[in-house]
Symmetry: C2
Subunit: 181 residues, 2 copies
DNA sequence: TCGTTACGTCAGTCATATTGACTTATCCCG
DNA sequence: CGGGATAAGTCAATATGACTGACGTAACGA
């Protein structure tokens, strides 16, 4: 095999993994690396499609969460993305200027700028979601039926405990698709 | 509940999710979002520790893969990270200048600059791996025993098919920890 | 000898993020 | 009503991580 570790045969240093048993047991190198590789390829699907619009990953994230949560407030979006409003600023302005997102004054609080996707924005968000769903479907096709549920549980448990309520509200499988209730 | 979607009550646009049934069925919004949130929090652990060294995520990735694969060639590292050698350049130079990584001439091919971590580099790589392992362990603790295996299968299946051989060589659970064999 | 490979580097650019300071408009409470 | 707090936007400067393109050097190998 062409295991890259064998390339080091001429050197004196032994592999770091040999002393990788620390206070908490052996590092979970497999899951650490699988998360890296899976995420690397997962986001690339959408990145390539976005390039055609002159958009990047940041535009995708904004578009996605606005699409999924019509009427989202700017502050809520900042809290989801964990970025500053200055960072959001440029991306959001570009999405608005190019007609993918619109803002409306809050009905009860006129300081708020509620965010909505336009039809164009929804179409793009949906296209990107389908790209990513295709990869997910193909992944699950090659697995036992229970792997999808287990993956959901694992990924949810990887989220910061303090964030889980917020994530559960946004990303649960049973979340209503046809209405606001 | 304070479901953010209810904030939109004053607006006329219906939620985009209502018409989110496309050619490939309903998008897997739950897994798409869980991947985002899990990865967002997963990388943050290491990011915070790296800041103390003046390093960023890119340094971590290089350090990690060199630590795990002593004698790695520069070309191989570029292939793993899927970045250009110009991008790697600065990061690698900083790691070398500050004594976390060293280079050695290849024994058989003197054009090669084989990469190794120093003791300092190994210590940092291990520290970061433990941080991430802690999150993973805690996540798996709250799950059924088979969830870890299922998560591995799912994440592996999410990788591009052409990349899976390379990933399997690097990130398999059974990979020998104590030697090069 | 000559083409290819491995690596490095210079220069310029872009996307995404940061901190800090400041403005405007609006809300809400005392 | 006045004034502090909140929602949002903006200006400026900076960091980080990535890119393309071009070029140089050394070493391999047919």
């Amino acid at each position: 095999m062409t295991d890259v570790t064998t390339e080091a045969s001429g050197a004196t240093q032994r592999p770091a993994a040999a002393r990788a048993i620390g206070p908490e047991g052996a590092p979970a190198y497999d899951l650490i690396e699988l998360l890296f590789f899976a995420y690397r390829d997962f986001v690339r699907d959408a990145d390539e499609a976005l390039a055609a619009y002159g958009f990047g990953r940041a535009h995708h994230r904004v578009l996605h969460f606005v699409d999924r949560n019509p009427g989202l407030r700017v502050t809520e979006l900042l809290d989801i993305l964990k970025i500053t409003k200055q960072s959001l600023g440029r991306v959001l302005r570009e999405l608005i200027d190019q007609g993918f997102v619109i803002q409306r004054e809050g009905a009860s609080d006129r300081r708020q700028r509620l965010l909505f996707v336009t039809e164009r924005g929804d179409a793009l968000a949906l296209k990107l979601a389908h790209l990513q769903t295709e990869r997910i479907s193909r992944a699950l096709d090659g697995c036992d039926a229970d792997v999808g549920a287990a993956a959901r549980r694992f990924l949810f448990a990887m989220v910061d405990p303090e964030e889980r309520n917020a994530v559960a509200r946004l990303a649960t499988p049973g979340r209503p698709r046809g209405g606001r209730a």
